[in-house]
C-alpha cells in the first residue's frame, strides 16, 4: 500500500508541475503580447521556483518505491523497449531544462528570444513525458490500465492541476507585488483577471472531458475481460465512496468554483473573491485527482494466475 501512495505522490506532483509549466508558457505568451516582456516576467517568474520544487519532490518520491534506490541511475538503460526507461529519461530531461530555464529567467541570462524558445522546448518535453508516463501502464496483462482512458486522463489531470496550480501561483504572486510595489498593481491586476478567466474556462472544459471519459471507461471495463469486470466491480463496490468523492469534488472544484471564478473575473475590484475561488477550486480538484489516482492503482486486476 505504501508503494501505491508513493506512486500517487510521484505521478500527481510530476503531472502538476508539467501542467503548470505548460500553462505558464501559454499565459506568458499572451501576457507578453498584451503588456510586454517585463510585465509577463513579473507575473510568472516567481512561480517557476515553485514548479521546480514540486517537480523535485515528485522525482525524489519516485526513488522511495525502489528496492535498490542507489542503482536508480541505471533505470534509463532499456530505452529501446521500456516505457519506464523513457519516462525516467524524459523526466530527467524535463527537470534539467526546467531548472536551466528557471535560472536563465531569474538571472536574465541569454536573450528573451532564447529563453522563450527554451520554455517551449521544455513544455514540449513535458508533453512527451506525460505520454511516456501513460504508456508505462499500457500493459497487456493489466486491462484496467491498458485503455485509451489512461493517456487521456493523464493529460487532463496534468492540464487541470497545472492550470489551477498556476492560478493559485498568480494570485500569491499578485499579493506579493501589491505589498511590495503598489504602483504596478493595475496592469498586473488586469493580467491576473484575464488569466484567471481563461483558467476558469479551461477548468470547466477539462472537467467536461473527465466527465465524458470516466463513464465511457467504466462501461468499457464492464463489458471487457473478466479482470476488467472485476476492476469495474471494485470501483463500484469497495471503492465506491472514493469514486463518489472523486467525482463530486472535481465537479465542485472545477465546475462550481470554476463558474463562480469566471463570473468574478467579469467584475471590477473582485481580487479577494477571485483569489479565494481559485484557491478553493485548486484544493478541491487536487483532492479529487489524488482520489482518482488512488482508484487507478487500487482497482487494477491483473491477467495472471
Amino acid at each position: 500500500m505504501l508503494r501505491e501512495f508513493i506512486l500517487i505522490a510521484f505521478t500527481i506532483l510530476v503531472q502538476m508541475s508539467v501542467g503548470a509549466f505548460i500553462v505558464l508558457s501559454v499565459v506568458k505568451f499572451f501576457a507578453m503580447r498584451k503588456a510586454g516582456q517585463e510585465a509577463a516576467d513579473l507575473m510568472g517568474d516567481r512561480s517557476l521556483v515553485a514548479i521546480i520544487v514540486v517537480l523535485g519532490l515528485g522525482l525524489l518520491a519516485s526513488l522511495f518505491h525502489l528496492g535498490s534506490p542507489l542503482k536508480a541511475y541505471t533505470a534509463v538503460s532499456n530505452f529501446g523497449t521500456s516505457w519506464l526507461s523513457r519516462e525516467i529519461l524524459f523526466g530527467v530531461i524535463f527537470a534539467a531544462l526546467g531548472f536551466l530555464y528557471t535560472l536563465m529567467q531569474l538571472f536574465k541570462w541569454g536573450g528573451a528570444a532564447v529563453r522563450t524558445a527554451l520554455a517551449w522546448l521544455t513544455a514540449l518535453v513535458g508533453l512527451v513525458l506525460i505520454y511516456c508516463m501513460a504508456m508505462v501502464y499500457m500493459l497487456p496483462t493489466q486491462p484496467a490500465w491498458n485503455s485509451i482512458a489512461t493517456p487521456i486522463s493523464f493529460f487532463t489531470t496534468t492540464l487541470l492541476l497545472g492550470a489551477l496550480a498556476m492560478g493559485v501561483a498568480f494570485v500569491i504572486n499578485y499579493g506579493y507585488l501589491q505589498k511590495k510595489n503598489p504602483g504596478c498593481a493595475d496592469e498586473q491586476c488586469e493580467l491576473l483577471r484575464s488569466t484567471l478567466r481563461w483558467i476558469a474556462i479551461a477548468s470547466m472544459i477539462l472537467l467536461g472531458i473527465e466527465f465524458v471519459v470516466i463513464p465511457s471507461y467504466l462501461v468499457s471495463l464492464a463489458v471487457g475481460t473478466p479482470q476488467a469486470v472485476a476492476s469495474a466491480a471494485l470501483i463500484a463496490g469497495p471503492f465506491g465512496m472514493a469514486f463518489f468523492f472523486r467525482l463530486i469534488l472535481a465537479f465542485i472544484g472545477a465546475g462550481v468554483f470554476g463558474l463562480f471564478l469566471f463570473r468574478s473575473t467579469q467584475k471590477e475590484g473582485e481580487v479577494k473573491a477571485m483569489s479565494n475561488l481559485v484557491i478553493a477550486a485548486f484544493l478541491f480538484v487536487l483532492v479529487a485527482e489524488i482520489l482518482g489516482r488512488f482508484l487507478f492503482y487500487s482497482s487494477q486486476v491483473a491477467i495472471t494466475i
Binding site: L66, G67, S68, A75, N78, S82, P140, T225, I303, I305
Partner: protein
Amino acid sequence: MAKQLAFYFDASACTGCKACEAACKDKNNLPVGINWRKVYDYVGGGWIPDSKHPNILVPNNVFVYSTSTACMHCQDPLCANVCPAAAITKRDDGVVLIDADKCIGCRYCEWACPYGAPQFNEAEGVMTKCTFCEDYLAEGINPACVDQCPMRALDFGELSDLRAKYGSISAIEPLPSSAISHPAIVITPHKNAQPSGQGTGQIIKLEEV
C-alpha cells in the same frame, strides 16, 4: 545449443503433491513468501439434488486438477522488454534471467508478467525468479523440480522437441492465454482441463500455493 529451452508438464499425471515446489525452494534457498515454482489446485463442478431423494445432494461433474507453474521463459518475455534497467535478459538458449546486480527493485516486471514469475525479495531489494537451474544445466544436471517429481510429470528440453513429442498445448485453466507472451511450456492436459479464459472453476487453497 538449444534455441528455446522449455518445461513440459503432464497435468494428467500430477497429483498436486508440491514436491517440485519444495525441491525448488530447497535448491534455491528461497525465503518465506517466495516460491519460484508454484502448484495451483483448480476445482470445478457442483452438487445437485438426487431425483429420488431431494434432500440428498450428489456430485455433478466435480473435478480437481493441479497445475505446476514457474517462469515460462517466454519466447516474448514482457518482463525483459519492460525492465527499465535492462536487468532481465533472454539467453541464446531461451532461458530468461534476472541480473540481481542490475535490478533496481522497481517491481515493474511483476505488473507485466502474466504468470506471477518475478517475485520481490524484500531483504535484498531486488526481483527474483526461476533460473531454470542454469547452474545445474551447466553441470549437466536436470532442474531440481524435474528430478524431484515422483510422478514424472515434469520434464524439460528444446521446445520444438517437446512439441513434437507431446503436442502444442500451452494454456489450460488457470493459466492465462499463451497469446500474451508465448510461453515456453508444453502441457498434457488433465482429462477435466478447461480451456484458458473459459473456466468455470476456481483456484482453491491459495494460501498453500
